[in-house]
Symmetry: C2
């Protein structure tokens, strides 16, 4: 089974007009996705933002839950947050996974939009089960990952489809579904 | 295909010490679960709290996104929130589904804990595909649904399992995974 990590990128992502921006960090993204990551056996959940003040703020909030008063108030939150690592961007995250896992990860990009050469969830699940290479699943905030990120994909994952034509899940919900499809008990 | 609705209950639910309490309404629960509900073709998403002031507050926030400035700022949010209905409790919600669908719904309770007589996701999916009865999936906030709710189940759904023993997903993530397992494209 391949080592699986996640990264939530806050730059470069698109805004609703398709411009490349840096999105703000959302506290609940960290908590929800950390819990999903812990549930599905993810090695590390990287939260990447180039804004140093936001990394410092996130570290302070996590400290409350990991060693401060919150650590005794809610132990399951502490356990989930122990997977979180703060990073600058995709490049520093790839280096961090390489340090952890011993080899450069395959980069799996996600998108709510379809496109050519998408890998299905079932196919990536099979690859993860038979591979020894680390894999890094890349999630975008805002209106999704900028093209300069998606162009670097080793694997472009198909979008999540329900029985309707609406495809505007929150990134928290999308992360949960992606992990369940890739790693959930079958 | 059965009509599927969801309800998020804020009373009676358990706190971390197992006491029955009323939990506060969380704005992001409404937005995230509404988006998941819209994606997976759910008929209505009921948000139930006995606290009138919280229903009034929720209605005010939704109004911003449905007819106020937010409706032009973010149309996908407006579309998702159009599924939301505010209710008092499980009983008023069951009556509301009955009014909408013409018959009393089968009540499906969810839990992160296992127990006897649980229906698997695959089995409930088959039942939904072949049934004409409306179904109401009940989600709890806080530390989960109180026994007086779970005892009223027509169907007790199995817990979500990943490959680890950690089962503390956020209710937003759990709702997304439950809908994907029951209604996702296969």
């Amino acid at each position: 089974m391949a080592d699986l990590s996640l990264v939530l990128l806050h730059h470069p992502v698109l805004d609703k007009n398709g411009l490349v921006v840096t999105s703000a960090l959302t506290n609940m993204d960290i908590h929800d996705i950390a819990r999903s990551a812990r549930t599905y056996g993810v090695r590390h959940f990287y939260v990447a933002t180039p804004v140093k003040a936001l990394r410092v703020l996130a570290a302070k909030i996590m400290e409350h839950w990991e060693t401060g008063y919150g650590s005794t108030y809610n132990a399951t939150r502490k356990e989930a947050l122990s997977l979180v690592r703060l990073e600058h961007d995709l490049d520093t995250t790839i280096l961090a996974v390489e340090r952890e896992s011993g080899s450069r990860p395959r980069v799996v990009v996600t998108s709510a939009r379809g496109g050519p050469h998408r890998t299905t969830f079932a196919e990536l699940r099979r690859q993860l089960e038979s591979s020894l290479e680390p894999h890094l699943v890349v999630l975008g905030t805002g209106w999704g990952l900028a093209p300069e990120v998606t162009e670097r994909a080793d694997v472009a994952l198909e979008p999540i489809c329900g029985p309707t034509d609406y495809n505007h899940l929150s990134v928290r919900s999308a992360a949960a579904i992606i992990l369940d499809r890739l790693c959930g008990a079958r």
